[in-house]
């Protein structure tokens, strides 16, 4: 890549087996940035001097390398350990599995690496380092973008790529011919008495800076999203609707500057969900397609519109996107309590425990049942079959739906105000009723012993899990990413090089032409070939009017 920080070729000792960078004999730098091999000493012992030294260190290439490496290293535990933001259940499992190690790792912030302060410190330092180097160079580029190349050095023969030959033209003609030739090749020229300087490839620096500025743009975009964006989850059963307010969401993760007033006011109804699965062959039971048919209004009072949300095909409402993440079954139960009152009558989402057969688990809680609270825990099987006495689900589509629930009475623990998982039953305050295990098909009921009540399985519906995302940094991030790519390609393709030509009267009376070339940071090599080509071209231009007695000298 290009050297953002040290435009001068390093002149440290070259290790064997490595090409030496051509030293910048012309003796100037693009920017006044200090050379890689020496750090200027602080001018004194004052705080300002130290601050200046620290700043120079921070914006040096070496520190950038170290910070980059630390950033990568810091990401490693974030990928190997379960992370709080993505897999909180996994984090808890890790704690139970490694009771001694886990608190120590937690103290280091390794279960939430990407939100940890030390990780933020690394990329913020990198950002500052980047900004501190790129921005001044951008300004410098803007100022010098129209600058002409410097005067040609006196002794062109000292440059690593140089050629000398004679021509029958006069010095003026030779200079003019060289100028015309190089101009045709899109070089920018400056001329003087007997010398000519040509430079090309200014876009490389522009591409380089564009890439680094775009990287900063990506960081800023991510910050935008973190401040003003939000993400929310909702599990929605067929036939029900929800509105994008905090009270109607299952989980809500707002950015730091987001308040509940800022949520887009759309409402969405799940009309129907359909899924198809592979029926035969080696991929049997694998899902083929999902389709959530919804109707929505962007604002209350709008006409309802319909849409099919599928995987890879989210709904876009006012820059808020609604994604289909998953689905499952919600069997419909009716619970009658001991006093004959219907205390529960709704579809209950069950979670799939087996991804290939969609055997699902869930609970029913009837906390207002009298005389005692009722709870049920069990399974729903979309295609229930009896396999040697064991009840199993054979296929994820609901061809033979059935449930099997275990009844409990007692205290569900809901009245104490502590939120509970709606998928789990806390049986510490309950006891199980002694009834044989029953399998219910739609329409069948289970009578509880002792007149405690009845559970009826009336049918089933499906549910989808939706994710609502608003990220204002999304489009800026994309634009920055594309700009970074463009800058990268530009900086790799374009090479900055200078050609010098001196013409003077030689000892033999003929005009001698010295041609030399210099490539800035020719890290990839290949300049020799280009120089050879250019020099040959120049020579043929100068030979064009000269006698065939021109000769090469070594």
């Amino acid at each position: 890549m290009t050297d953002v920080r040290s435009p001068q070729a390093g002149n440290g000792a070259a290790a064997p087996g490595v090409a030496e960078e051509p030293a910048d004999v012309a003796g100037e730098t693009i920017a006044g940035v200090a050379d890689e091999t020496e750090t200027p000493r602080p001018g004194g012992f004052g705080a300002v001097a130290w601050a200046r030294w620290a700043w120079r260190q921070l914006t040096s290439m070496r520190i950038a390398l170290v910070l980059l490496f630390l950033l990568a290293l810091g990401s490693v535990p974030g990928s190997l350990l379960p992370q709080q933001g993505i897999d909180p259940a996994g984090v808890q499992q890790y704690f139970t599995a490694h009771p001694a190690l886990a608190p120590f790792l937690n103290a280091l912030g390794l279960f939430n690496v990407f939100a940890a302060p030390w990780f933020a410190a690394i990329y913020l330092l990198l950002f500052v380092s980047l900004a501190g180097c790129v921005l001044p160079r951008s300004f410098r580029l803007a100022r010098t973008a129209r600058a002409r190349p410097p005067q040609a050095p006196r002794h062109l023969s000292r440059l690593p790529n140089s050629v000398r030959y004679e021509t029958a033209m006069t010095t003026e003609e030779a200079s003019a011919a060289a100028a015309a030739f190089l101009t045709r090749r899109h070089f920018r020229l400056s001329q003087g008495e007997g010398w000519l300087s040509a430079e090309k490839g200014y876009r490389r620096e522009a591409g380089n800076l564009l890439f680094h500025v775009a990287l900063m743009g990506v960081l800023v975009s991510i910050g935008l999203g973190g401040l003003f964006g939000y993400k929310a989850d909702r599990l929605l059963v067929e036939g029900t609707s929800f509105a994008d307010t905090v009270t109607d969401l299952d989980a809500y993760h707002p950015g730091h500057l987001v308040s509940p007033n800022d949520l887009a006011p759309f409402s969405l109804t799940l009309d129907k969900f359909s899924a198809s699965y592979v029926a035969s062959g080696p991929d049997r039971n694998q899902p083929e397609s999902f389709n959530a048919h919804v109707s929505y209004t962007a604002q209350p009072g709008d006409a309802a519109r319909t849409y099919d949300i599928q995987v890879n095909h989210p709904l876009n409402v006012d820059a808020v996107k609604v994604y289909l993440l998953g689905h499952g079954y919600a069997p419909v139960f009716r619970v009658t309590d001991g006093q004959g009152k219907v205390v529960y009558d709704q579809a209950t989402p069950f979670l799939p425990a087996d991804q290939s057969t969609y055997l699902s688990e869930g609970v029913v809680k009837a906390p207002d049942a009298k005389p005692q609270q009722l709870g049920f825990a069990g399974v729903f099987l979309p295609t229930a079959v009896d396999v040697s006495g064991q009840l199993e689900s054979a296929f994820p589509a609901p061809y033979l739906p059935a449930v099997s629930m275990i009844p409990y009475v007692g205290n569900l623990g809901l009245n104490n105000g502590v939120p509970q998982s709606v998928y789990q039953l806390n049986t510490t305050g309950m006891h199980r009723l002694a009834t044989p295990v029953q399998v219910l098909t739609p329409g069948q009921s289970m009578k509880l012993p002792g007149g405690a009540g009845t559970l009826t399985f009336t049918g089933y519906r499906q549910w989808v899990s939706l994710q609502v995302t608003y990220d204002p940094g999304q489009v800026p991030a994309l634009i920055s990413g594309i700009a970074a790519l463009a800058g990268l390609v530009l900086s790799f393709l374009v090479r900055r090089r200078r050609i010098f030509v001196r013409t003077y009267r030689g000892d033999s009376g003929r005009t001698v032409v010295d041609v030399a070339g210099l490539a800035r940071s020719d890290v990839g090599g290949g300049f020799e070939a280009e120089f050879g080509e250019l020099a040959a071209g120049l020579k043929s231009v100068h030979d064009h009017d000269s006698s065939p007695r021109s000769e090469e000298t070594e």
């Binding site: 307010t245 009270t247 409402s267 205390v343 009245n415 998982s421």
Partner: protein, 184 residues
């Protein structure tokens, strides 16, 4: 993570399927009981609220003009709502004579469970059935309910005077009601 004050789960997160959202299984956003009181000069007007109650009758907020209205967003499945229900029942009867009316808004509930809840806790005030959460949406420009349960207090002029996010207590809601009924 902005879900403030989740007081812990009685049981572990449970088996959440691989492609359902990684939630703690509570399936609602709960609050921590903070209450806010808005001074008389800086209150926002409450939006129009109407709907049908659990018993099927029509009810609208405009019929309470001149009275202080307490709007409580609840669900029978929600543990903090169940915990605060006795408090609300007591406060509603206590402040009835001072011109305060309580109205509930029942969210994400089935009528059967909701009616059982009301009967169980002896709630005498009506509750609007709002399965699509349209009423909360109506408050989005003003003082939205930001958790379940949430309680809003509307003054006699139809302006929003206070809000409690999360389970309310006798003292926090009582304080607001005392100030509002005193004309504050």
């Amino acid at each position: 993570m902005a879900v403030a004050g989740v007081l812990g789960v009685a049981a572990c997160g449970g088996q959440i399927a691989a492609n359902t959202p990684a939630s703690n299984g509570n399936n609602f956003v709960s609050g921590n009981g903070t209450s806010s009181y808005f001074k008389a000069g800086s209150r926002l007007a409450a939006p129009a609220v109407s709907g049908s109650t659990l018993s099927g009758a029509r009810l609208s907020l405009s019929s309470y003009r001149g009275k202080v209205v307490v709007i409580n967003f609840w669900g029978s499945w929600c543990a903090p709502c169940r915990s605060e229900a006795p408090t609300l029942a007591v406060l509603s009867e206590q402040y009835q004579s001072k011109g305060v009316r309580f109205v509930g808004v029942d969210i994400r509930d089935s009528p059967a469970s909701a009616r059982a809840f009301v009967q169980n806790f002896g709630i005498s005030y009506p509750s609007l059935n709002d399965p699509a959460d349209e009423i909360a949406l109506a408050f989005r420009h003003t003082v939205p309910p930001a958790a379940i349960p949430s309680t809003l207090v509307i003054d006699r002029n139809g302006q929003i005077a206070g809000r409690v996010i999360g389970q309310t207590s006798y003292s926090s809601l009582g304080n607001i009601l005392a100030k509002v009924t005193a004309g504050g």
